[in-house]
């Protein structure tokens, strides 16, 4: 077990190094610091101002190789900053990025955790129900509805929800955020509802396939031969076995809870990490974008290792190799 864990962690570390190299290529070679500086200080700024901006943000080092001090290059600086979580300050307004991240994590979690839990509690039973009625009209109608739900752009769900439920019916505030516990649910209700509906179609389709695949396995036939009712088969046998692949898929989504839903957050004015990303796009704030990509990948890699480990614990058929 320990050897397995160590090997998985080493693999994860290699991936993280790959991500950092990829980010370096994107943000230091493809889009050079000179480009970023140009955008930040304006097209007409004199060269001295440009140089000054580059020096102030620490982008004036040699890229790969410094004959005087091999550790003093931009590549080394990039790795050092990211790996020590010392992200520096924003390219747009010089606010420390780590301060932004701390402020944004709370609102992001406030939206994404309930969304995640409710999505599971609603999606899995519905998928099981559709799979129970497989090869009948209910199954076909269920599938058609989930394909319909999947085909609508997320933008339309958001705009439609804000317009109908927020503006016409006045059930919810159209957008906004307030961390005090009495008013928070009012603000979160509409984004939650929209997020749930938008994610339901794809979720049901995936889970249904898993359950239907399970029903053609031998143990189901055995259970049926013993005289177990169809409902008992579904709840006791198919649900339990089907949960393994579904939960794998679910655990992989946990890291995204932190980075939040970019669209939902910025549409509903929730000041989370998703909104920070959108602001960074609008402001050409490459330092913040870099950091968000790094953190997203780091969480993903950790989540993946966690999944693999929990998978081996949950499913005795999986051997540690």
């Amino acid at each position: 077990m320990l050897a397995y864990l160590v090997r998985r962690l080493a693999g994860g570390a290699v991936t993280i190094v790959g991500v950092l190299l990829f980010l370096f290529v994107l943000f230091f070679l493809v889009a050079t610091p000179e480009d970023v500086a140009r955008k930040a200080v304006g097209e007409k700024a004199p060269p001295e101002v440009l140089e000054q901006w580059i020096a102030a943000h620490g982008y004036d080092k040699p890229r790969f190789w410094n004959p005087d001090d091999p550790a003093d290059t931009m590549l080394a600086e990039h790795f050092r900053r990211m790996l020590t979580f010392d992200f520096g300050s924003s390219d747009a307004d010089d606010v420390p990025i780590s301060k932004r991240l701390r402020e944004g994590a709370g609102p992001s979690l406030a939206l994404s955790v309930p969304l995640f839990v409710l999505g599971l509690l609603i999606g899995i039973p519905l998928a099981l129900l559709v799979a129970f009625f497989r090869e009948t009209y209910i199954d076909r109608v269920g599938l058609v509805i989930s394909v319909l739900l999947m085909s609508v752009s997320a933008l339309l769900y958001i705009i439609g929800g804000q317009y109908v439920l927020g503006k016409l019916l006045r059930w919810f505030p159209i957008s906004g955020f307030d961390p005090s516990p009495e008013v928070l649910p009012r603000f979160l209700a509409l984004p939650l509802l929209v997020g749930l509906v938008a994610g339901l179609g794809g979720g049901i389709r995936f889970d249904r396939t898993v359950f239907v695949e399970e029903t053609s396995k031998d143990y189901v036939r055995t259970a049926r031969a013993k005289g177990a009712g169809e409902a008992r088969i579904m709840l006791r046998h198919v649900l339990r076995n089907g949960l393994i692949p579904i939960l794998t898929n679910v655990v992989l989504q946990i890291p995204f809870l932190f980075t939040g839903s970019i669209l939902l957050e910025s549409f509903f004015g929730i000041p989370g990490l998703g909104s920070i990303t959108v602001d960074a796009i609008q402001a050409n704030d490459f330092a913040t974008l870099r950091t968000m990509v790094f953190i997203g990948s780091l969480l993903f890699v950790l989540g993946q290792i966690l999944t693999d480990v929990s998978y081996t614990l949950a499913d005795p058929r999986v051997r540690l190799e």
């Binding site: 085909s151 752009s153 995936f206 396939t209």
Partner: protein, 343 residues
């Protein structure tokens, strides 16, 4: 070369490619039967897809002609290359601002229109005809979905098959690159690439390509790992058939059903991603996503301007739905085993 000439050449290449493909399908019994079965199962969805393809092709064929319209009009647009779709509308088919569908006067203020009762879907804030804009959007959608998949699938097939078939070092390198790209959350990766490359249609397609090849390449790798061990491949190798020839004759044909299914499923995902990017301000000009994005502000007006949003989103919805339905049917027709879906 000028942009519209390139566009025409691409259309010609696509039409020739499609004709060649049609001939190849007619000759192959398996594929022509699958196609017939698909047409039997989903006639309407296929027709809808075909309609969008035709509109997009018509919008891509452009040429310049003698300056049209009144001298006093917009002098630049009089000399622009115009597509077949543009030519279906009168040249000066514009108003000054919003007009409701088939209205006689302007929506706000009630000034008389230049073309009363003729804008079937009304006009947008700049007075452009919404029906015209929506038809033009079909080209962007097919460009994003179709052209990106056409670039992505051969590349993914190449890398996936090479990694799976040859294994060892190549497979290790492939695994490293693909797991790096997969570790970055999709939308963030898209944003990062577009921001680094700069905004524009080609950049968006490249970014979508980089983010979407990994999934299919991994499937292709897994399949070719299996096929490599099959008896007839071993037999071919024992007979001294060269490796490239084995790949072309035995491995790739066995992956073709996966290629078709991936293409269809990738397509709708790409079109929806572009809509999201448009909302973030880094999409492609003239797309339906951009029309939906603009419509956001229009809903807060009173009385509301709804036709813009309705036109763009129903076009987007019907294309994606039709493609999804065709994709589901194609999977059933081409793959007897139910393949595992990816969320």
């Amino acid at each position: 070369m000028e942009a519209h000439v390139v566009s025409n050449l691409i259309v010609a290449a696509l039409v020739f490619g499609a004709a060649g493909l049609a001939v190849a399908i007619r000759r192959n019994r398996l594929w022509s039967e699958a196609l017939r079965e698909l047409a039997r199962r989903r006639p309407i969805a296929l027709a809808v897809v075909a309609l969008f393809v035709v509109v997009a092709l018509l919008e891509s064929v452009r040429w310049r002609s003698e300056p049209e319209g009144p001298e006093a009009g917009d002098t630049v647009s009089r000399f622009e290359a115009r597509s077949v779709v543009d030519r279906m509308f009168p040249h000066d088919f514009r108003e000054k601002s919003y007009s409701a569908p088939l209205a006689e006067v302007e929506f706000y203020g009630g000034a008389p229109l230049a073309h009363p009762r003729s804008h079937l879907l009304g006009t947008d804030i700049l007075g452009r005809d919404v029906l015209h804009q929506t038809l033009k959007g079909a080209r962007v959608a097919l460009l994003v979905g179709g052209l990106t998949s056409l670039i992505v699938i051969p590349l993914a097939l190449f890398f996936g098959v090479t990694a799976g078939y040859f294994g060892r070092r190549i497979d290790d390198a492939f695994f490293l690159v693909s797991s790096t790209l997969m570790a970055i959350p999709g939308l963030l990766l898209l944003i990062a690439i577009i921001m680094a490359l700069g905004r524009g249609p080609v950049q968006v397609c490249v970014a979508l390509g980089i983010t979407s090849w990994v999934g299919f390449a991994r499937v292709a790798r897994g399949e070719s790992l299996k096929i490599r061990e099959l008896d007839y491949v071993q037999a071919a190798r024992a007979l001294g058939v060269s490796e490239p020839r084995i790949i072309v004759r035995h491995v790739i044909p066995n992956l073709m059903h996966l290629v078709i299914i991936t293409f269809v499923l990738l397509f709708s995902g790409l079109v929806l991603s572009e809509a999201t990017l448009s909302w973030l301000g880094i999409g492609i000009d003239g797309s339906w996503g951009q029309m939906i994005d603009q419509a956001r502000d229009e809903l807060s007006r009173d009385p509301i301007v709804w036709w813009n949003l309705v036109a763009a989103s129903s076009a987007l919805f019907s294309l994606v739905l039709a493609v999804n339905l065709v994709g589901d049917a194609a999977r059933d027709v081409l793959d007897p085993r139910t393949m595992k879906e990816h969320r």
